[in-house]
Amino acid sequence: AQSVTQLDSQVPVFEEAPVELRCNYSSSVSVYLFWYVQYPNQGLQLLLKYLSGSTLVESINGFEAEFNKSQTSFHLRKPSVHISDTAEYFCAVSGRTGFQKLVFGTGTRLLVSP
């Protein structure tokens, strides 16, 4: 079984400041790791994923996350946030075999202000 912990329920930040959203996971098997984003009144959108290979993965809009196996973490970072990044961010894991159901964290609300 897997579990995901997102310790920060809300992260307020000023525009153009850097941000890190923390995610730790627990699993007895190898996992895939994901960050999903949910904008107001919209569904969950995949932001980025770690499947294998390079431990640093990037999204097209400037976010990056690093898989750290020893610390069982997959923190999300962005060096300079925009107002439009205001959203709920969910970290998730799935097993690598069988039906790959997603196990989510509780989410972190990123609030970017001018």
């Binding site: 999903y36 009144n41 969950l44 995949l46 039906f99 790959q100 964290g105 509780t106 989410g107």
Partner: protein, 116 residues
């Protein structure tokens, strides 16, 4: 761009009533999922469905819940006798395949169910 759609966006019902939440997955996808999120809590897996059968379900998915693919396009979640604790956002997702190498799940916008 193809997307998963869900109706209604908000459903209000009385305790004990039956509700059906509807989803239209992406047309060439074969695997379907329901998740739910109680306000302030995690998004939780409910059930996965493939080839007209449940492939996996969580302990939340008890006898009050059922899923169906009544035609070639819709995928429904039925709650037979709603309880107050069923109030949540319900997300439908679909993927092209479900096992083997990674298969991305695409999510709908959700249906907010409020049980009074």
């Amino acid at each position: 761009e193809p997307e998963v759609t869900q109706t209604p966006s908000h459903q209000v019902t009385q305790m004990g009533q039956e509700v059906i939440l509807r989803c239209v997955p992406i047309s060439n996808h074969l695997y379907f999922y329901w998740y739910r999120q109680i306000l302030g809590q995690k998004v939780e897996f409910l059930v996965s469905f493939y080839n007209n059968e449940i492939s996996e379900k969580s302990e939340i998915f008890d006898d009050q819940f059922s899923v169906e693919r009544p035609d070639g396009s819709n995928f429904t979640l039925k709650i037979r006798s709603t309880k107050l604790e069923d109030s949540a956002m319900y997300f439908c997702a679909s993927s092209e395949t479900g096992t083997g190498f990674y298969n991305e799940q695409f999510f709908g916008p959700g249906t907010r169910l409020t049980v009074l």
